[in-house]
Amino acid sequence: MKTAIFKFRLYAAEDTQNSTLAFTNLLAICKEHLADRYEIEVIDVLRQPKRALADGIRMTPTLVKLSPLPTRTIVGTLNQTHRVMVALGIEAIPA
């Protein structure tokens, strides 16, 4: 059963191109393959620099998959869809 809810946290830097791209790419993957089984929390490191410092975020955008375990971290615009999905453990729904 594909019931597990995917929880993501995306550390982004305001509306920079890379961060926007990452969010768009992530949203596209989720909508296509996870339907309603996802939650995305976006943290703007420029607004919450202390959070970035505490969480050890150095590069933006950084995507952290919090659940299901194991947690994974991916840095970048997430443009290599297949690679990202494998890394996140998302099974593709055949079109």
Binding site: T16, L21, G76
Partner: protein
């Protein structure tokens, strides 16, 4: 009509503007790096509020330099700093550098902070990214501690993760902008492939050299098995700097860049005070001894008593109560003390009293630069006023030929600025022409006084000769003297020149005795001659006396004769008168003719 001045001012096409006072431009401020030689080279340190790039190969000291910069800022400049580590874990860096005695632990976390920015191995990269997160986090940290300095150690590590050259440029420039905006003094370190940093410009991160305001190259070369480290300031916007490569050493306290005095600082306070050489007659040869803070070079072949002469100087210095350091590259210190005691130079008591520090430098290995740094550190720790280095030619042994001259220069420079009287000996090779007398380090041109010792091989003897080749600012003897070592000390004896040859040893003694006996003979002869002359004189005087006596007798005789004659003529007259009276002749007839004729 247009006057000439107007014409000139207008010919460039610009309207003539009344000169306005320019707003005061602040000269670029510098942040002291705490690396002494480097601050001297750049006139104060790295540009404050700007970026500086530090490029070097593996093990060239990038991390040490940058951390020294932060520690110095935190401890002495009230400028807290942040160390962003891209390559090594902060705890490891701190542990590695703990042996420099910087006590990093006492500065953390208020004055010094480490930020771990190593890309973790399980991190997955997909697509382009930027360093916004890091800068945001860093900004929070900067605000938290009021940081003024920041170091990005091994920035190339994170830049290499970026997909293309354009992204690398974008991030590097973005970071620089961020640094400038926050008015941070920033040091970026980056690797250069291999040992040669000259090709860094062609490497993927070469653009950073053009981006930053100051670029420093750290080189690490191995020449004939000896490691040589060099630092060079490649560029420095808005400031003059020393452009040459300067050797540096990573010593026990961190970085030590060797630089000679800067222009305008070379005028050390000179002294006309004299210090004794420890040999009385050598002092008179030099017109009173060495100058204080002079550098004296004693050259000679092995066994010409170079060490003895320098030992005499050390003893004399200690006798005056001056702290002295004796560095021997040849023998152990106890050996030196023992050997010198055989010629009446007693250093043992001064070693015991602590005035004299004997250093056996046979065990110190490394480049000439390392040796100089070690000697300097020891001399400073001992508060030495006089330093003996025996022999200084060791500095130029294999692998150090290129740097040794510079080291010798800096040695002399340092001694002068610290007002230390330096005596160094230098070995001359057999291959070198004794007459040309060139020393391996060319130190002879730098030294103030140059004393040359040599052997004279003559009629089966080797005798030591001493001569002063030069002595700046002092009148000095141009004679070769013979150096005689005995158990009472060093004495100098006059030599004799005969037919162009200098006579020493037995020949000198022979000549001396010959002269002495010749002198005796001459004295005796003179005495005899005088006696003879005396005799002749008295003889003549006696003759003169007898003649004078005879003369006196003649006088007497003569006067007697005259007297008699007068008497007789008087008698005659009287008898004539009497006769005339008797005859009754006329008185007017006068004297008879016969009597008159008589």
């Amino acid at each position: 009509m247009v006057c000439a001045a107007d014409f000139l001012s207008n010919c460039d096409g610009f309207p003539r503007v009344k000169p306005k006072r320019l707003p005061a431009i602040k000269p670029s401020v510098k942040a002291a790096s705490g690396v002494i030689g480097f601050d001297a080279m750049t006139g104060g340190g790295v540009p404050a509020g700007r970026t500086t790039l530090l490029v070097g190969g593996p093990g060239s000291g990038k991390t040490i330099f940058s951390l020294q910069f932060l520690v110095h800022g935190a401890r002495h400049c009230k400028e807290p700093g942040i160390f962003v580590a891209f390559e090594e874990s902060p705890t490891r860096i701190a542990a590695n550098l703990e042996h420099f005695g910087w006590n990093i632990g006492t500065l953390i976390p208020k004055k010094l902070a480490f930020m771990d920015a190593q890309p973790t191995s399980d991190l997955l990269h997909s697509g382009d990214f930027d360093l916004g997160g890091m800068l945001a986090a860093l900004g929070a940290q900067v605000e938290k501690m009021g940081a003024k300095r920041v170091v990005f150690d091994a920035l190339d590590v994170v830049l290499s993760l970026l997909p293309d050259a354009a992204a690398r440029r974008r991030e590097a420039y973005g970071m620089q902008e961020w640094v400038l905006k926050h008015k941070l003094t920033c040091l970026i370190t980056a690797k250069a492939g291999g040992d040669d940093t000259t090709s860094f410009g062609l490497q993927p991160y070469g653009f950073m050299q053009f981006m930053v305001d100051c670029a420093v190259m750290l080189n690490h070369r191995v020449i004939q098995g000896v490691s040589q480290r060099n630092l060079r300031v490649q560029k420095y916007r808005g400031s003059s700097f020393d452009e040459n490569e300067a050797p540096f050493v990573i010593g026990s306290r961190g970085f030590d860049v060797a630089v000679t005095s800067q222009l305008g600082k070379t005028d050390h306070k000179v002294s006309s005070e004299r210090v004794t050489s420890g040999v009385e007659r050598l002092d008179t040869m030099l017109g009173g001894g060495y100058y204080r803070a002079a550098s004296v070079l004693i050259t000679g072949f092995p066994g010409t008593a170079k060490t003895t002469l320098s030992g005499a100087f050390a003893e004399a210095a200690c006798d005056r109560g001056e702290r002295t350091m004796f560095v021997s590259f040849d023998s152990d210190s106890s050996e030196v003390v023992r050997n010198l005691s055989s010629v009446g130079i007693r250093l043992g008591r001064h070693v015991e009293s602590g005035l004299l520090r004997m250093i056996s430098a046979r065990t110190i290995v490394g480049s000439a630069e390392t040796l100089l740094v070690r000697i300097k550190a020891l001399a400073i720790a001992h508060h030495a006023r006089c330093v003996v280095i025996d022999p200084v030619s060791t500095l130029s042994k294999a692998g150090n030929e290129l740097t040794a001259h510079g080291v010798a220069e800096r040695l002399i420079d340092w001694c002068k600025s610290d007002r230390i009287t330096l005596v160094c000996t230098s070995l001359l090779d057999d291959t070198m022409n004794q007459q040309s007398g060139s020393t391996p380090l060319q130190i002879s041109t730098l030294a103030d006084t140059w004393i040359h010792l040599n052997y004279l091989l003559q009629s089966g003897e080797r005798n030591r000769g001493i001569s002063i080749i030069k002595s700046r600012g002092t009148s000095h003897s141009n004679q070769v003297r013979e150096l005689i070592l005995s158990n009472t000390g060093i004495t100098l004896a006059d030599t004799y020149t005969a037919g162009g040859d200098v006579l020493m040893g037995t020949l000198r003694w022979e000549k001396e005795s010959a002269l002495q006996s010749a002198d005796l003979t001459a004295t005796a002869e003179a005495k005899i001659k005088r006696l003879r002359l005396d005799a002749e004189q008295s003889e003549l005087e006696a003759q003169l006396k007898s003649v004078q006596t005879e003369l006196a007798a003649k006088h007497v005789e003569k006067s007697l004769l005259a007297h008699n004659t007068t008497n007789r003529s008087g008698d005659l007259k009287r008898s004539h008168a009497h006769m005339r009276e008797l005859r009754g002749a006329d008185v007017s007839l006068g004297v008879p003719r016969k009597a008159k004729r008589r």
